[in-house]
């Protein structure tokens, strides 16, 4: 027979199922959070790295004037180069819906390279690879935008206006999208298509290569080694008479969306640890109530010979059993949750998930926490409970928290105009002060994180909206070649609805490093100096002004890549074959590290530097009506495109202003979704805490409830007393949460903004979050109170007064 003291452990487990479930839930929620976050992080970190390594991403990418296979062979012989591949990238347009065309980047490769995939390997998801001539394979990330699926035909518009139909024969995942600075990052990248080199003439493109991809044979993680080899390659380009317009150097593990991963990991760990912390308080609270209910039994055990430590060991074993059950629940559920999260992230962040698999480290961490945290959390209640004297325990005057003649009681005694039942609710709320404090701590902190998550989300959304100030124009137009601004303006303004038009200069440049070699690629934009179609978020210095000559304002990524760069310094840019010095007059905040290097300068100076004075390839059109909806803008864009095409212009792209903002904000949306998931976890922790407290409060007061019923208290009156108490706790927690949310919002927002933008947050408060949490917490309070109160009210008075 099991010794009675251990039999008591099992009996306690099953005798009060609700109480046991609450304790298990308290432990499980913390373990779940840790398990989910750890598994997600481990698999994410491993798979994103391993997946990117497996695609053999190019360490060096150079865009230049046309070159041939012989030149590629020459590059292969450059010391340090493992492999080199030539490709042709063309920006064309694809028909996505009625009257709407979107940009598509067509990459052409030799069929041998497509079969071998020695660099920038793509993963075939559906169909076939490589395509045959005049067929196309599409990258999965943007295939939805085409409106087409496997086997469908895409209409590709060529610069001449000719439309080619190409069948989609395969769908692939290309993890390297966004790896070049010039593209503006993954989220801004256009639809990606892959064709054979033999298809190029059919697409009115020249035969040959305009892009070189190369990998290093060793030191692929060493930026210095990468730069040296890149310099050597660029020298080859120069010596062979090829003009480079862009070069990018990347380590083999630098997945383009790592900044978002870093931000998510920071959120994962911060909030995951917080959940464990809150869970600890939850456990303490629930265990305090459990010990409180067993005070008399503790007294009896002491009477029949049990020492304090024998009694403590009983409860420590009980906690261990609870922990093991919670662990058994949390391990599979956290793995499933991690899988769901990883599958979501794999699609959103563009990496290949190698499948959910056991993560021993995660299980180990969960087991470690399961073994120690509940024991530590239970230490105080156990020590308190076992310290009670036998006399106090048996007399019924013992309680882990004393009802006192406290200030609160005296305060309530002075209240006038309140009914006795309401006063009972008010006093009951403050009766078990330690339990109330722990409940409020859990619920308030959970609510504060919930509200803070909304605030951070709101801040990011506000920031995204703020980004829209970079795209004030209603319609953005990109031509295949520069046209005279005067002519374009005149023609555009013939379209009904078009008001003001601005022509912007633009170029792809390269930073010239200190050693004189070309470095990172930079997108240079040249609006008119007095343009009102852009409202930048300045971080330092000033914006470009009329009269500025070689002044530039740099995006936030410059401050990371070149931390010594300051306002007033000079940088050297290579635009085409020409190198020139530019003075840094300011820094602006854009869409984060993954958006790439952007530079703004005065149109007049840029157009002279590029040899295109009075001409531009980029135009911004403002509608005469200031209040256009997105649909209206898109309609106007279609009208503009049709009109300009009829007039013989070669158009690369027409977009409504907010569409560009939406593309930019997609990465941030992932973060906000992530925050919502974590905040719901917080809400869950808080709700378990409140449910536990209210259930235990009512359980402990069952005898009182019986007495009240015996002296005339109706079921309704009893339930009202309990509900008011529950709602009062909820209301107090809401007030505390609203206050705590202020600094927590700032901390969380700063954390995310620092990772994404390398800057403190532009914090905005979403007061709807407070109202939402108020509603949630009142609902939870009601639900947490009504069920136990109802159950208690249904017992007979005899049963209740005999209740132990």
């Amino acid at each position: 027979m099991i010794p009675p003291r251990w039999k008591k452990v099992l009996a306690d487990l099953f005798s009060h199922k609700i109480r046991s479930l609450l304790v298990i839930a308290s432990i499980a929620v913390g373990l779940f959070a840790v398990g989910m976050t750890t598994t997600t992080y481990v698999i994410l970190a491993a798979d994103i790295r391993a997946g990117y390594l497996a695609v053999r991403a190019a360490n060096i990418q150079v865009i230049s004037s046309l070159f041939d296979d012989d030149f590629v062979e020459r590059i292969r012989r450059v010391p340090g180069v493992a492999e080199a591949v030539g490709a042709y990238n063309a920006r064309l347009r694809v028909h996505v819906s009625e009257g709407k065309w979107k940009p598509i980047n067509i990459r052409a490769l030799y069929i041998d390279e497509m079969n071998e995939q020695s660099i920038n390997k793509v993963e075939l998801l559906q169909g076939t690879w490589p395509p045959a001539d005049r067929q196309v394979v599409i990258d999965v990330n943007k295939v939805v935008e085409t409106g087409a699926g496997l086997g469908d035909e895409l209409e590709i518009k060529l610069p001449s206006g000719t439309v080619r139909r190409m069948q989609v024969v395969g769908i692939v995942r290309d993890q390297t999208i966004g790896s070049t600075s010039g593209e503006g990052g993954f989220f801004l990248a256009p639809i990606q298509g892959y064709v054979t080199a033999a298809t190029l003439p059919w697409l009115e493109q020249p035969e040959g290569f305009n892009t070189l991809y190369a990998t290093l044979s060793h030191d692929r993680e060493d930026r210095h080694a990468l730069s040296l080899v890149a310099d050597a390659i660029l020298e080859e380009f120069e010596h062979n008479g090829h003009t480079t317009s862009s070069s990018v150097v990347r380590r083999s593990t630098d997945h383009p969306n790592l900044p978002y991963v870093d931000a998510m990991v920071a959120v994962i760990y911060s909030l995951g640890l917080l959940v464990v912390f809150l869970s600890g308080f939850l456990i303490t609270n629930t265990l305090s109530a459990l010990l409180n209910q067993q005070i008399e039994q503790i007294g009896v055990m002491k009477t029949v010979g049990a020492s304090r430590w024998q009694i403590a060991s009983i409860y420590m074993l009980l906690i261990l059993v609870f922990s093991l059950i919670a662990l058994a629940v949390a391990i599979p559920t956290s793995q499933q949750a991690a899988l769901v999260l990883l599958e979501y992230l794999a699609v959103k962040i563009n990496f290949t998930l190698r499948g959910l698999r056991p993560v021993p480290f995660s299980t180990f961490v969960m087991a470690l926490i399961a073994l120690f945290v509940p024991q530590v959390a239970g230490l105080y209640p156990i020590l308190q409970g076992t310290r009670v004297s036998v006399r106090e325990a048996l007399s019924g005057t013992a309680s882990l928290q004393k009802d006192g003649d406290s200030l609160v009681y005296r305060l309530f005694a002075r209240l006038r105009g309140f009914s006795r039942p309401l006063l009972i609710s008010l006093r009951n709320t403050f009766r078990q002060r330690l339990r109330l404090a722990l409940t409020l701590l859990t619920l308030s902190l959970g609510g504060a994180i919930f509200i803070a998550s909304f605030n951070v989300r709101f801040s990011l959304e506000n920031y995204v909206d703020r980004l829209g100030r970079y795209f004030v124009a209603d319609v953005n137009l990109t031509f295949a070649q520069p046209y005279r601004i005067e002519r374009v303006t005149h023609d555009l303004q013939q379209v009904p609805g078009v008001g003001r038009v601005e022509g912007w200069g633009g170029a792809l440049a390269q930073i010239v490093e200190a050693d004189g070699n070309p470095g990172e690629s930079v997108q240079v934009l040249g609006p008119p100096a007095a343009s009102s179609l852009i409202e930048p978020i300045l971080l330092a210095g000033r914006w470009i002004q009329p009269g500025d000559e070689n002044a530039v304002v740099l995006s936030e990524l410059f401050r990371i890549e070149y931390p010594d760069l300051r306002v007033g310094d000079t940088i050297r840019l290579k635009i085409g074959p020409k190198e020139s010095d530019w003075i840094v007059v300011g820094f602006f905040q854009f869409a984060g590290k993954s958006a790439g290097l952007f530079v703004y300068t005065n149109y007049d100076y840029l157009s002279r530097e590029t040899g295109l004075p009075g001409r531009a390839g980029f135009y911004r059109a403002v509608a005469a009506d200031q209040n256009l909806s997105q649909q209206d803008r898109e309609w106007l864009g279609r009208q503009i495109e049709a009109h300009m095409t009829r007039r013989g212009y070669q158009i690369n792209e027409v977009t409504a202003g907010s569409a560009v903002k939406e593309d930019t904000s997609k990465g941030l949306n992932i973060l906000t979704t992530f925050l919502m998931v974590m905040s719901l976890l917080m809400a869950l922790v808080g709700s378990i805490g409140l449910t536990g407290t209210m259930s235990l409060n009512v359980m402990e007061r069952t005898r009182e409830i019986g007495v009240m019923r015996a002296i005339g208290g109706s079921d309704r009156a009893i339930m009202k007393i309990v509900l008011v108490e529950g709602c009062l706790i909820g209301l107090i927690s809401w007030l505390l949460a609203s206050l705590a949310a202020l600094p927590i919002s700032k901390m969380l927002a700063d954390l995310i903004f620092q990772i994404i933008f390398d800057n403190d947050a532009m914090l905005a408060f979403d007061y709807r979050a407070n109202l939402v949490w108020l509603g949630i917490v009142l609902l939870l309070s009601t639900l947490a109170s009504v069920i136990p109160a109802y159950n208690a009210s249904k017992l007979t008075i005899r049963e209740v007064l005999a209740y132990e």
């Binding site: 027979m1 010794p3 009675p4 003291r5 039999k7 008591k8 009996a11 306690d12 005798s15 008399e296 039994q297 007294g299 009896v300 055990m301 002491k302 009477t303 029949v304 010979g305 049990a306 020492s307 304090r308 430590w309 024998q310 004297s389 036998v390 006399r391 048996l394 003649d405 132990e804």
Partner: protein, 369 residues
């Protein structure tokens, strides 16, 4: 060896004849309402094999006194010696183990652990104190339950049996480690008379087997079935002889008498002390020894419990017997009202019975003994 890993029950002989000695026990409680001294300097000796009842009104301090004895509570001052151990000095942890081995405690509300069966409740003290081998504990527990008539209900939970059966199980639990001393606080307080009788029967058997039992009760009828009664009034012990001599009197009156009484010891052959003034002459309560009459009159010698008036006729010449005599001197003015309705005089000597029943004639009206 298995025998090395568990202990055997305490040996009674090692405790001596006086198993419990309490001296100067006071207990003061401090609360928001102020201080309350519940026990005010109590001295008690309990001899081996006694069956003692502790009686008193509600709030008199009887349960508090018993708590001193079991060390469920600690005295504010005074000493409690059980055997040769000053238990009031033991720290809580050691006291729990000591209590488990030396005392069995029976509570008014049974206090069985609700989630353990009756047999498991009985096994619990053995488990905690590591008494008897683990393999033999269940058998012993079943034997104890059989002894109290519960062998058929051994595996039931307390909630599934009647109150009297729970109390019987509690008694069995108290006997689990075969302690020499049993302390019961209102053991029949929650029982019907039939079940109470059963429990008292078990106690009587245990006393016959040599256990020492101290029982708190408010039931005078049950108290009379014990070998000795301690009457507590307002935190003080009434002199046992006074309580026995004046049953039916108010506890406060008895306590007052106890305080006014003073002990007198007569050596063998010594006369009762002379009195100077008849009005001040005390009455004597014979507590021990005997008083002889020089003329060897019928009804003499007088034994313990007799009330003696040295002014009354034949009792003038009384003297202590061969073993001496222990008397309590009582103030006449306090005692007379207790002995006659008019309260002014003793009954005439002629009314004294002729032989051996002098006691009866001197008992106050209303006495039911």
């Amino acid at each position: 060896m298995a025998a090395d890993r568990f202990d055997m029950p305490v040996v009674y002989d090692s405790m001596g004849d006086i198993v419990i000695r309490m001296r100067g026990i006071t207990r003061t409680f401090h609360s928001a309402a102020g201080e309350a001294t519940v026990l005010k300097g109590i001295d008690v000796d309990v001899h081996r094999g006694e069956f003692i009842s502790v009686v008193g009104r509600s709030g008199s301090g009887k349960s508090t006194l018993v708590n001193m004895l079991t060390r469920i509570d600690r005295p504010t001052s005074g000493t409690v010696r059980v055997g040769d151990v000053l238990i009031h000095e033991l720290p809580e942890g050691r006291m729990a183990l000591w209590r488990g081995r030396h005392m069995g405690v029976v509570f008014q509300f049974f206090q069985l652990l609700p989630m353990l069966s009756l047999v498991e409740n009985v096994m619990l003290p053995m488990d905690f104190c590591n008494i008897y081998s683990p393999a033999s504990r269940e058998a012993r527990a079943l034997e104890l339950l059989k002894r109290v008539g519960l062998e058929g209900l051994a595996h039931k939970l307390p909630g599934a049996v009647a109150g009297g059966q729970q109390q019987s199980a509690a008694v069995a639990r108290a006997l689990a480690n075969d302690p020499p001393i049993l302390v019961a606080d209102e053991p029949t307080g929650n029982l019907d008379s039939r079940t109470a009788e059963q429990v008292m029967g078990i106690f009587a058997e245990l006393v016959e087997q040599g256990k020492t039992i101290v029982m708190v009760t408010h039931d005078q009828v049950l108290a009379r079935r014990t070998s000795r009664t301690l009457l507590i009034s307002d935190g003080e012990l009434v002199n046992e002889a006074v309580a026995a001599a004046f049953p039916g009197q108010s506890h406060s009156a008895l306590l007052r008498l106890s305080k006014l009484a003073s002990p007198v010891h007569l050596l063998p052959g010594v006369d009762l002390p002379d009195t100077q003034s008849p009005a001040a002459a005390p009455l004597y309560l014979l507590m021990g020894g005997e008083l002889l009459h020089p003329d060897h009159r019928p009804g003499y010698p007088l034994g313990p419990g007799a009330i003696v008036d040295p002014l009354a006729g034949l009792q003038v010449d009384l003297f202590a017997g061969p073993a001496g005599a222990d008397l309590l001197s009582l103030p006449r003015a306090e005692v007379l009202p207790l002995l006659s309705p008019a309260g002014d005089s003793l009954p005439p000597l002629s009314s004294l019975p002729e032989s051996g029943q002098a006691q009866d004639g001197l008992h106050p009206p209303g006495s039911d003994l």
